[in-house]
Symmetry: D2
Subunit: 341 residues, 4 copies
C-alpha cells in the first residue's frame, strides 16, 4: 500500500510502497483510512522535537488523527465488524492496567501512539485495536471527523471536565478560539448553561467563537483582563479554559479566575509562575488537561452526530501531502487539513 513516511529528521516526508498491515493479534483492527488529519505536531516531528521522546525507529508512517472503515478484525474483536465506519482513538491501550480499567485509558501504563511512536494513518491502512475504534453514526463521514480524533478530543476532554462544575449562570472564559478553542466552545454550549466568554488576539477568532456559542467576545488587546473583570462583576470567572498556554496567557488566565475557581491548562508553551500565597488565599485550582479518553471520544461523536460540534476541513488527496503540510505551515489552511487516500 502507499504510505507517507518520516525517513529522517529535518527532511521532507516521502510517499512509498509498504506492506499493508494485517490483523495478527486477536484484538487487532485494520482500518482502511478515509481521512487523516494534518496536525502541527506532524511538523514538529519533522523538526526532530519528538525524536528523543518517542524513540521511534525510522522510517515510519506518520499521522495520528484517523478515521475510516474497518477492513479486517482479529479473532477476539466483538465491538466492530468489517465495513463499519469508525474513528480511531489516538492511543492503543492495554486494557489491564488500573488506568485503563477505570476509564482513564489516556494514562495507560503501556500505551502506543500510532503516528508518533509506531505506524500512523498517512496511508491506505492502519493497524489499531478493538479498544481504540468508535463506530460512527450513519450521518458522519470519516474524512469530516478525522481531525476530531486528537485536536477535537483534547478540546472535548477539557471542556467536558470543566462542565462538571459549571452551574447555570456561572461564567466560563475560553482563551483562544483556534482549532481547539472553537471546539471547546461548542462543547460547553452543548453541555452547560454557563455564560461563555471568548478571548482571542484575533478579532476574526473572537467572531468565530461568538458564532459557535460564546455569549461575549473579548479581543485580547491589553485590556482583556479588565474586560473580563467587568463582565464578571469584578469577581472573575468560575472557570477559565486556556487553549493558548503561552505569550502571557497563564498569568492573564489566572487573573481572570475568581476565588475558588478552576484555571484549566490545555495549550502549552510557557511556565505557570504564580505565588503560592495567591493560590492559597483565593483557593484557586490549576488543572492540567491532556487528550480525552475513549469514553470522551464516544461522547464527542454523539455531539458530532447531532450537529452540535462541527469542524471546517480542507481536503487533499494523500499524494498531495506535501502541499497540505506547506499550506498548514504557511497558515493557508482554513480549519483542518485532511488527507484522503
Amino acid at each position: 500500500m502507499r504510505a507517507v513516511q518520516v525517513i529522517g529528521y529535518h527532511r521532507d516526508l516521502e510517499m512509498t510502497e509498504v506492506p499493508a498491515p494485517s490483523a495478527v493479534d486477536p484484538h487487532d483492527v485494520i482500518v482502511r483510512i478515509g481521512g487523516a488529519g494534518v496536525c502541527r505536531t506532524d511538523i514538529h516531528i519533522l523538526e526532530g522535537q519528538w525524536e528523543q521522546k518517542s524513540g521511534v525507529t525510522l522510517p515510519y508512517t506518520i499521522g495520528h488523527e484517523n478515521a475510516g472503515w474497518v477492513h479486517a478484525v482479529g479473532s477476539a474483536v466483538t465491538n466492530v465488524a468489517e465495513g463499519d465506519k469508525v474513528i480511531v482513538h489516538p492511543l492503543m491501550t492495554c486494557g489491564l492496567c488500573r488506568a485503563c480499567r477505570s476509564g482513564d485509558d489516556v494514562h495507560c501504563a503501556r500505551s502506543q501512539f500510532p503516528g508518533i511512536d509506531t505506524h500512523g494513518g498517512y496511508a491506505e491502512y492502519l493497524r489499531t485495536t478493538a479498544r481504540s475504534v468508535v463506530k460512527l453514526d450513519d450521518s458522519l463521514e470519516p474524512a469530516d471527523v478525522a481531525a476530531l480524533a486528537d485536536a477535537g478530543l483534547t478540546a472535548y476532554h477539557a471542556a467536558a471536565n470543566a462542565a462538571r462544575r459549571l452551574r447555570p449562570g456561572d461564567r466560563c472564559v475560553v482563551i483562544g478560539a483556534g482549532g481547539l478553542g472553537h471546539i471547546g466552545i461548542q462543547v460547553l454550549a452543548a453541555l452547560t448553561a454557563a455564560e461563555l466568554v471568548v478571548v482571542d488576539r484575533n478579532p476574526d477568532a473572537v467572531d468565530l467563537g461568538r458564532s459557535v456559542g460564546a455569549h461575549h467576545g473579548v479581543v485580547a488587546d491589553g485590556t482583556h483582563v479588565a474586560q473580563v473583570a467587568e463582565l464578571t462583576g469584578g469577581e472573575g470567572a468560575e472557570v477559565v479554559l486556556d487553549f493558548v498556554g503561552e505569550g502571557g496567557s497563564t498569568r492573564e488566565g489566572l487573573a481572570m479566575t475568581r476565588r475558588a475557581g478552576d484555571y484549566h491548562v490545555v495549550g502549552y508553551g510557557e511556565n505557570v509562575d504564580v505565588p503560592t500565597i495567591d493560590l492559597v488565599s483565593a483557593e484557586i485550582n490549576i488543572i492540567g488537561n491532556l487528550v480525552g479518553s475513549y469514553g470522551d471520544l464516544c461522547e464527542l461523536m454523539v455531539l458530532a452526530a447531532r450537529g452540535k460540534v462541527t469542524l471546517h476541513t480542507t481536503k487533499y488527496p494523500l499524494a498531495d501531502f506535501q502541499k497540505a503540510i506547506d499550506d498548514l505551515d504557511a497558515g493557508r489552511v482554513r480549519g483542518r487539513a485532511i488527507l484522503i487516500p
Copy 2:
C-alpha cells in the same frame, strides 16, 4: 475586661482595660474565652505584614484561635445557649451570599476576621455570631482545642479535601510534619486507607509524623524525591499535601506527584513555577487550600472528641502574653501556645 491589644506596628502588645462586648445584633454571640491560640500570624501582624491587607484601626484586640463558653446571645440565636462550651470559627460570615449558602462560607463575600480585622480573642470576652460557634463535646475543653480553630482547621480542610479521591492503597505524601502537617496526618489516617508518607527536614518531625499515623517517614536530606519515587514504584504519589510551600518544596512536591495526581498547596512562601507542558502531559492538578469551612470545623471537632486528632499545647495565663509570644518566636513552644484569661 482585660484585653491584649495591638497599639502600633513594630511595638509590643499591651494589656489594657476595655468595655466587654455585648450582644447587639440578633445573631450575636458573646463568648467567654477559655483559651486563645498564639499563632505565628500574630507576630507577623506586629511586624506590620497585615497592615495594608486588613486595614484594621488601632488599637484592637488580637487573637484568632478561640474557644470558650457562651456568655450571652442575641435574640435570634437558636443553635447555642448561655453556658455552652464552644469553639469559634475564625470568620464571621453573612449567611446570605452564594458561598455561605452552599457550605463554602470561607469565601463569604462579606466576612470579618476577628483578631485580624476586628477585635479578637486575647481577652476575657469575644463577640462573634451564631454562624461561627460550634458546640463542643463534653469530653473536650476549650483551652485544649482552641488552636484547632485555625491551624488545625486549615490542616483538616486540606486533608479532608484530599481524602475524597484517595482509595485504599493510594499513596499520599505529606510534606512538613509541623503544627499543621501533624494534624493533617491524623485526619488522613482517620478518613482514608491510603498509604501515608511523611517528609520533613527534621528527623524528630518525621518521627512525630510516623507516631501519629504515617506509614513511611522520609527525612528531606536531598534524596527525598528519589526516596518517594522508590516508595511509589517510580510513579509518584496520587496526592501530595505540601504544608511548607517554600524552600523548594513546590518543585519537589510536583516531582513527587504521579500522572493524573493532585498536588495540594497549603503552606506558602515561594512561587509555583512549572512548565505548562509538564502539567498537560502528566495531567497534574495544583490545588489551593485555605482555612476550612464551618462544616469542616464541626467534622474536626468530631474527630477531636473521638481522640482521633490531638494537639500538644503549652498554656500561659493571659497576663503572660509577652512570654508566650517570645517563646514562640524563639522556638521554645512545644505544640501550640495557649493563653488562658
Copy 3:
C-alpha cells in the same frame, strides 16, 4: 390589604381585608405580589388533606407560588432592596442548621411554608425573609414566572439532579409531560446532551414534550414499556424521571430503567412495590425528589432569563380567585393559572 383566605375546610375561599405585613425581624422582606400561582395543592388544602400535616390556624392566607416586588426590608437585609423584582422560594428557612448551611435548605430543621402553614401570597403583600428572595432579570415579569416558584422548581430540582450523571448519548425517559414534566424536559435539554424520551397517556402532551426538547415521543397506550425498550436497544434508559407516580407508572418506570440506572420519583400517589432481588441484581437506584433549594431557584431563573425555560400562563385578577380554582378543577386551565392582585 385584600387577602384570599381559608376560613374552613370543605368550604370556599373568601377574600377579606387584613392588615398588611410589615418587616419586624431584621431579615424580613415584604413582597408586593405581582403574581401568585394557583396549584392543585390549594384545592387539596380546601379538601382538608393538609389539615393534620400543616397544623395551621384558620383563617389564613393561601398561595405558595409567589413573585413580585420588594416593598420593605428588615434592618439586616443586604441582598435585595425596595423595588427589586423577585421570585419567592416557597420555604422560609433558618440559615443555621446543617442542611441550610450546606445548600440543602429544603431540609431545614425549622422551616416555614407560606401558603401552607403560615400566610401565603393570594394577597397584596407577603412576608418572607432575605433567605427566600431571588432577584429577577430585567427581562422577566413576576406574573410570568410565579409558577416556577414551586411546580417549576420541583421539576428543575429533579432534572438538574438527574443531569449530573447523564453523559452525551445516555437516554433519559420523562414520564408525564404535564405542568412539571414539560419544565423538566426543557431543563434536561438545557443542561445535557442526553437523548430524551417523553412518555404520556395524552398524545397532545407527548407533542408538547417533543416541541420543548424531547427527541422521541411515546404515547402510553400499553405498549410503552416495550417501545422504550426498543428505543434503548433493549437495555432501558440510564435515567427515568417519573412525574406521575401513580396509575402503574412506578412499575413501568422501573421496567424502563437499565442496569445501574436511576429511577427518580417526583410525582406521587401509589406505592413503589419492587422485589429487592430486582434492585440488587440490576443495581437500580430509586431517587426521591422534593422541591428545589434556593440555589436551584437561582439557576432556574437563569434558564428562564435566557428563554430556555418557558411556561404558559392564564392570568386572573385576584378577585376572580374562585373562577381560577374552578377552572383548574375542571381542567380548563392551559398551563398555570396566575392571580394578579
Copy 4:
C-alpha cells in the same frame, strides 16, 4: 484433575476426574486453587433455583469464591505470572463494553460467572482471565481470603459506596452482622469516621459487630427502630445498609433513614413496598448493591493485607465437600467454610 460437580438438581454433588483446563485464549489464566469458599448460593444451585437463570449445561464444576496460585497464562497476559498468589474476581468480563471500560465491570454486557454458568473452583484448577485476577500481598494466604472474592466483595462494594457520602459524625446503621455485615462494618470503620450502629436479631451477632468496629449495638427485639431513633436524635441515620432484605428489614430500614438519607439494599428476599409520598417528602434514596468490581476487589485486598478486614474460616479438604455443605446447611460453620484441594 479432581473436580466437584453438579450432576443434577435435587441431587448431591459428586467428585470426579476431569481434564485440567489449559490456557487457550491469549488472556487466559489457569489458577491452581488454594481455597474455594462454600456459599449458601451453592446450596441454592443444587435446589435448582439457578437452573433457568444460569442455563448451565450439566455436569459442571461448582464454586465461585476462589483464590490460589497462577499455574499458566495465555500469550497476552502481562499483569500476573506463573507462581503469583491471586484471588479471583467472580466474573470473567469482556473489557470492551462501556461498563468494563469505565470501571463498572460488574455490569459487563458479556460476562461469565464461573461456578454459576461455567466451571468453577471446587477443583484443583480453574480457568479465568487476566482481567479477573488480583495479586495478593505476601502476608495473605489464598485459603484465608477466598471467601472475600464474593461475599466479602459484595459487602465491600456496598460499604465503600456508602462511605463516599459519610462525613465524620454522620450515623450509619448496618442491619445484619452475619457473613457480609461484619465485613461491611470493618470496611466502614476503615474508610470513614461515621458513627456505626449494628442491628441484628442475634445478640451474639450484635456483639461481633461491636467487636469489629460498631460504636453502638441494637438487638432487633421489636424496639429497634425506636432505639435507632433515640441514638440519632429522633432523625434517623444518614445511611442505612441492609444486609438482610427480608423479614421486615426493608420497612424498618427505611424507617431508620433520615431525611435526604440513603437506604442501601444488599440482602434480598422480600419486596420494598413504600408509598411514593414518603420517598418524595423525605427525599430518601433506595440504592441497589450487587457484587463489587475488580477495582473494589483490589481495594479490599489492601484492607485485608493491612489487617483491617479479617474473616473467620473453617477449612475442609476438597474431598470433604459434602461435610462442608452439610455443616453450612445445618448452621454448624463458624465464619466461612473453605475447601482446600
